[in-house]
């Protein structure tokens, strides 16, 4: 990367800024999406929280190295949407990343599992509209590739999870009152959730690699259509793994406890459905959001077990978050693109405001922390998360009884 020196100072400065922001976005992405893989095994006690997030982090790290196909699609095409292709500038990518990061942190503060990819797309779209006009976004592609999959993903995953939960219970049900061994699903959960974490690594770390590569291409530091550089892959893998290890405990609580009371068989069915849906879709070239698939699966598995109830109020809040993700991050991205359009000073203002907002969110979050540390300190984490995400406590049904507690 010595070729930096040949470019004008302000250009390489913005490139460095974008790389830093992109890696921070990757961190928030991992942080936000730990829950997708690890909420259910933590909820059922299949793994201790720290072990679960460490496993998820390791698998995200491995997953990031497995493929760079998605990264190549992003740097090679997706963002150059529209006829003729818009020329996207590093400033626009910077603005888009600001939008994506801020929205990711806001949804984390409320414990909402929202799609990090939608936040990224929203931010970039908002920045592109301000930077290059309304014509720069191909709305047909937007509906086709982002909005319709967003509606369909949770439905497919929910249906798959419903079906597999039913199957798991029907097959293991014993009418003679003998032990049914359903606790054995805990072992399976370790593997199924690992698969989800791996799938997440192969998908989501790629997006940041794609963005960084896109910046290098648009700044003329790298040839068009070339692969991400090795240090980019390494840095992205480390950022997403670090984010995953830090763990978005608020979202873990929402997915693991907020939607429905997850039992081992359900958790296994939900994770298998999540992994199957993500893998099937990415293998067959149909882009789905990991987060939406995971949430859909948890709701589906809640519907599939006898005597379990789904808290539709929480599900509705999550749905609202999904609806808002694209427009909200687009608005933040647009504002920040507008400021960035003022020149180097605008970018400085942007960076300062973004830092202030990020720090403010962390300060607000520190008031009622939800983390694995509070667990060690003996503070009641569940009660805290209940306060944060405002879950109404629902008493377990009496029919569930002692036996199904296993």
């Amino acid at each position: 990367m010595r070729s930096h020196r040949k470019t004008p100072v302000d250009l390489s400065l913005i490139v460095v800024l974008v790389v830093v922001l992109a890696l921070f976005f990757d961190f928030t992405n991992g942080f936000h999406d730990t829950a997708n893989a690890m909420a259910t095994p933590i909820a059922t006690g299949a793994m201790r929280p720290k072990v679960a997030v460490a496993l998820a982090a390791a698998l995200n790290l491995v997953g990031a190295f497995l493929s760079t196909e998605v990264a190549k699609t992003i740097s090679g095409g997706i963002i150059h949407e529209g006829p003729g292709g818009i020329s996207i500038t590093p400033e626009m990518i910077f603005a888009g990343l600001v939008g994506a990061i801020i929205w990711n942190l806001v949804t984390w503060l409320f414990g909402l599992p929202s799609s990090s990819s939608h936040a990224l797309f929203g931010g970039l779209i908002g920045a592109a509209i301000v930077g290059a006009g309304f014509g720069s976004v191909d709305y047909a592609v937007l509906v086709d590739k982002v909005i319709l999959p967003a509606l369909l993903a949770p439905l497919i995953a929910g249906f798959v999870a419903y079906l597999s939960t039913k199957l798991a219970y029907v097959i293991t049900r014993r009418y003679d009152g003998q032990p049914d061994g359903r606790a054995g699903f805990r072992y399976a959960q370790i593997f199924s959730s690992s698969l989800v974490a791996l799938a997440h690594g192969t998908n989501d770390a790629q997006k940041t690699m794609g963005v960084i590569t896109l910046v290098f291409i648009s700044a003329g530091l790298q040839a068009q259509g070339s692969d991400p550089q090795f240090w980019v892959i390494l840095a992205c893998a480390i950022a997403i793994a670090a984010g995953t290890y830090t763990g978005g405990w608020r979202i873990i609580r929402t997915l693991g406890k907020g939607l429905t009371d997850v039992k081992p068989a359900q958790g296994f069915a939900a994770e298998t459905s999540t992994a199957a849906t993500i893998l099937a879709s990415s293998h067959l070239g149909f882009a789905l959001s990991t987060t939406q698939v995971a949430s859909g699966s948890v709701v589906g598995s809640g519907l599939g077990r006898r005597g379990s109830s789904v808290r539709w109020r929480t599900a509705g809040r999550i749905g609202m978050g999904w609806l808002l993700t694209l427009p909200a991050s687009a608005i933040v991205g647009a504002l920040s693109a507008w400021a960035a359009g003022l020149g180097p000073l605008g970018i400085l203002i942007d960076a300062v405001i973004a830092t202030v907002v990020i720090v403010a969110i962390f300060i607000i979050s520190a008031r009622n922390r939800v983390s694995s540390k509070t667990a060690l300190e003996g503070v009641n984490e569940v009660a805290q998360s209940g306060r944060v995400v405002k879950i109404r406590k629902v008493k377990p049904k009496k029919s569930a009884g002692k036996r199904s507690a296993a």
Partner: protein, 110 residues
Amino acid sequence: MINWISFFVVAFAAIASACIVVILYSLGLRLMSTAGKAPNVIPAEFTDAITVITPTEAAAEAKRIRKAAKRNPLSPTRKRLALAAAYACFALCGACVLFGIYLIIPAFHR
């Protein structure tokens, strides 16, 4: 418009693969319990664990499983057969998962 054919392919592939894995593992557990070896996996204990089982409850469950195993009507050969079938199910299930991992790694498809 959205490519509905690819959508249905994705939906079908997801349903088929998830169901195969879940059916195999559940069948394995069912056969374990038929063989009188129902697994008793106690949830990990950590402060504020969502699923909590007291040691007494865990011990009671273990006792129940031991009792059920004693009253198991199957002959020793059949028990062994059921257990072998259970392990075969788990192995097959693991193979399916490995195949899934194989599918997502593009390095294997070049």
